[in-house]
């Protein structure tokens, strides 16, 4: 009897802990106007990648984030809040970016995130800022020539990215392994843990540069428009981002950044992503 009581109270403790963790929703956040707050502080906090070459990567020399997305975020910040405004960066992973946005740790996500209908249920997107497409990376001479060849084989992807779910539509019989980051995924491919690595072509192209034994194969089988993620209900902020996006495209800043980061990446045609 005493033992049963003990277990019962233990269960109640766990449930209470659970309830305190989940009970309080964050209604307060959606009622705040992020744009107004940022205008006051003259800063926008962006979530960027720390480990993705060309797009968002921390530089070991000075510990600063660098890449196309980082530069674009800086340009957008200036357009939105004025020349003296600063962009603050928080490094995120595919796994942590949406929770951090919903929690309000960051104001917006600019971290290789594709606009998808599923994500749109949870967060809002500004207009697309980059047009990637999903592709596969294989060892040179591999029998895999296109994504459909992967049925019955093993594909490696990264946790939290939608490429993992996409690939199941094209090769439903493939087994999918999800690893924590791109470098580990590539090394797993080299170790023979899978037959192909799938993610967006721009990221794969970056990998193929430093690994001559591997190549992108087949055409991109999806279009992956990257969008800036914004919390639901932040209409003013969204409007401001879209307006700033239009401005950086009109004044040529956008194309300059594309040339800077993708101008000489073999296997990736930067002209396809230029915007007039």
């Amino acid at each position: 009897m005493k033992k049963k009581l003990k277990y019962l109270s233990l269960l109640i403790t766990s449930l209470l802990l659970v309830l305190t963790l989940t009970g309080c929703g964050s209604q307060s956040l959606s009622s705040q106007n992020v744009l107004e707050n940022d205008k006051k502080s003259k800063t926008i906090t962006w979530g960027v990648k720390a480990d993705t070459k060309l797009l968002g990567l921390v530089d070991v020399k000075d510990g600063k984030e660098k890449g196309f997305e980082v530069d674009l975020a800086k340009a957008l910040t200036k357009k939105m809040l004025g020349k003296d405004a600063t962009a603050k960066f928080v490094t995120v992973t595919s796994q942590s970016r949406i929770p951090l946005l919903k929690n309000g740790n960051i104001d917006a996500i600019i971290a290789t995130m594709t606009i998808t209908p599923e994500r749109k249920k949870t967060i809002d997107f500004a207009n697309p800022y980059f047009d990637a497409g999903q592709s596969i990376l294989v060892k040179k001479g591999s029998s895999v020539k296109k994504v459909q060849d992967l049925n019955g084989k093993t594909i490696i992807g990264v946790v939290g990215s939608n490429s993992v779910q996409n690939v199941k539509k094209f090769a439903p019989k493939a087994q999918v392994l999800q690893l924590p980051d791109y470098a580990q995924a590539l090394t797993a491919l080299k170790s023979g843990q899978g037959d192909a690595l799938t993610t967006d072509n721009v990221i794969l192209a970056g990998m193929a540069v430093s690994n001559p034994g591997y190549e992108l194969t087949g055409k991109a089988f999806t279009t992956e428009p990257y969008g800036i993620g914004i919390n639901k209900g932040q209409k003013d902020f969204k409007k401001a981002v879209n307006k700033a996006l239009k401005e950086v495209q009109a004044d040529g800043t956008y194309n300059k950044l594309i040339m800077k980061w993708f101008g000489d990446v073999p296997g990736f045609n930067y002209k396809e992503v230029l915007r007039k």
Partner: protein
Amino acid sequence: MQNWIDAYSWINIRFLLQGLWITILISVISVILSFIIGSVLGIIRYAKIPYLSRIIGYIIDVIRNLPLLLIIFFTYFGLPAFGFKPDTIPAAILAMTVFESTMIAEIIRSGILAVDIGQMEASRAMGMKLSQAMWHVVLPQAYKKMIPALVSQFISLIKDTSLATIIVVPELMQHGQVVYGQDPNYIIPVFVAMAVMYFVVCYALSLLSKVIDRRMA
């Protein structure tokens, strides 16, 4: 071979060492905080105060039996629901402290239990209050006995900070990921370098504990 030479450039090693510094910083702050909180919780649980001891006991048991990875997730993703939005480093310190306090509370409690009950009774019979007997007689002996267990807990804590990578805390493991993010061919040399760094710090600590142990004995 070229990969190894390139991977161990001074810039990369310096970046790893910066990560190691954050690892040590998080570990030291967490161990101090959790030593204090853990001692209080352990004594409360030992003291059998009606209701309070039992409730604290259950909370300790629940937290102690969860993977640390989950506790890290909860502090970073769960707490902001209460309007408290810690940065990654404070979030990691908080998660480590919550988890380690419960582990240390258990070490303290069993340390107190291991001190002969007769001593407690004798001091009480001599007219000491419970708190006095605890402070002057039981705790000094208990802490002495617990040193090896406490040090090995500290070592675990240092190693466990590597899990905080998952929320992008700039500690050693995460800096390792950034280094091999520059060139994925660096991954194996970087893992070897990280293993050596963790080993040097942890092994030095365990040697220190052996020396202290021998001095005390």
